[in-house]
Amino acid sequence: MNAEITASLEGVSLTYHEPGSETRAVEGLDLAVKKGELLSIVGPSGCGKTTVLKLLTGLSAPTRGRVRVLGTEPEKALPRIGYMLQRDELLEWRTIEKNVLLGLEIRGELTGETRKKALELLKKYGLGEFAGRRPSQLSGGMRQRAALVRTLAFSPELLLLDEPFSALDYQTRLILEDEVRGIIKQGGYTAVLVTHDISEAIAMGDRVAVFSARPAHVKREFCVDISGSALERRGKPGFSELFDLIWKELKTDEPGA
């Protein structure tokens, strides 16, 4: 298969400098995201997974190596990238509708048409009747869904999801994984999901890249050949085998292992 590459990191290294310490966050990292694919990145906590997302948005520049996103430099691609954070960060003084329109507003792309499209997305994802509410009136799962609509509202060509479910309770998390994978696959979005949860990485991803401990590089990549939604996948044969494989791969990295 020779699919179009949406984003790539080639031989990327990144060192953070702080007084009294120098942290090699990423070293010799090679990674490619194909168009229309949902790539999961899983790795030990603090291994530099989020750093990869920062590299892709140009918020961090590599010390060595090359980062290409949407056929250009990351900084130039930033307006076409949707970044979903760990916390929903909905602005409390804005209604859900106004929160969802924030990205369009900042980019100066808020027109009658884009507003209509954003409101349709809200309706489509079950938040239509909450458009006039304040974030505090919504549950954690609904808030994170609103944050996703805020990200989708400006039609990004690449979605970056930075542990977007880690602040949710387990049940909400399962439901939201299912919904978000559905939304991403239906919409034909290209996405990178960073998580420390192996089962989430498998349930959501088309492919799973396993990161090493710091300095991070890709230890191994696994294709997830399990059909169905994120929830269905969890119960299917092959899921637990893949889980064990990834678990072993991560375990060899632990200090003392």
Binding site: T57, L59, L78, P79, L91, W93, L102, G103, I106, R107
Partner: protein, 262 residues
């Protein structure tokens, strides 16, 4: 509404009434004890005054047409100092937020300015702006500005950290980050800074009046002390208490309105 809930609301209301009644009761009790202590000769009313003497003093001041001008002078100076001081403080905080380097450089100066008793600058102020209302307003401004800068800047910095990541990920400029996220998120911090600085302005005004004034409540207090008219001192302090409370509650009301929006 269930009977239990109605009962609960009733209880809540009863408790609220009890607290209000206790507050007023406490004030009346203190006044009564004060009055009685003087009447039975436990204390000398000439030294500690008494509620009736305070009221008499206020009435005679009012009759002579002196009370209102004094109150107005102090109130106007305080309001001017408070408004100018907070405006300058908020503007300075905005400037410092936009220039992180400047913020780092000026940080120790702010700390020293905050620690410095502004009263020490009184004589300089008199020389620079004259021994009049201007010196008093500048004193109130000085006392309230530094606190405002520190409080508001702390709010900006904290909200900048929290909301900055989101705004950067949406591609916002620093200006947009400020106007759409940091400033609205800091409204509660600004409001609580206002509540502190309104009290600070009163300190500045009274100290200013001690130093230079020929009128105002601070002047009445100093004058009363000098000529041993403790009734006048107590009466002025009572009026001051009432004024300060009114202004504080006015700011608190603005805060309540703002917190509904933000």
């Amino acid at each position: 509404m269930s009977p239990e809930h109605r009962e609960y609301l009733k209880k809540l209301k009863r408790r609220g009434l009890f607290i209000h009644a206790s507050r007023i009761g406490l004030l009346l009790l203190a006044a009564l004890l004060w009055e009685l202590a003087g009447r039975v000769g436990a204390v000398d009313p000439f030294i500690v005054s008494s509620p009736t003497r305070v009221v008499k003093t206020l009435v005679s001041l009012a009759r002579a047409g002196e009370l209102l001008p004094h109150i107005f002078a102090t109130f106007a100076e305080c309001t001017a100092g408070f408004l100018l001081g907070t405006a300058a403080g908020v503007l300075a905080a905005v400037l410092l937020w936009f220039c992180p380097i400047l913020e780092r450089v000026l940080d120790p100066y702010l700390v020293v300015l905050n620690a410095l008793p502004k009263i020490a600058l009184g004589p300089i102020l008199i020389v620079w702006v004259g021994a009049g209302a201007e010196a008093i307003i500048v004193m109130a401004l000085l006392v309230s500005t530094v606190v405002t800068v520190m409080q508001v800047l702390a709010g900006f910095l904290e909200n900048g950290r929290d909301k900055g990541q989101l705004m950067r990920s949406l591609g916002a400029t620093r200006m947009q980050t400020f106007s759409k996220a940091v400033l609205p998120a800091s409204v509660p911090a600004i409001m609580s800074a206002l509540k502190i600085s309104v009290g600070m302005s009163w300190v500045g005004v009274i100290v200013g009046e001690y130093l230079v004034s020929k009128r105002g409540l601070g002047y009445l207090i100093v004058y009363g002390g000098q000529v041993f008219k403790l009734d006048l001192v107590m009466a002025s302090i009572a009026v001051l208490c009432a004024l300060a409370a009114v202004m504080y509650y006015a700011v608190a009301a603005v805060e309540a309105m703002a917190s509904k929006k933000f």
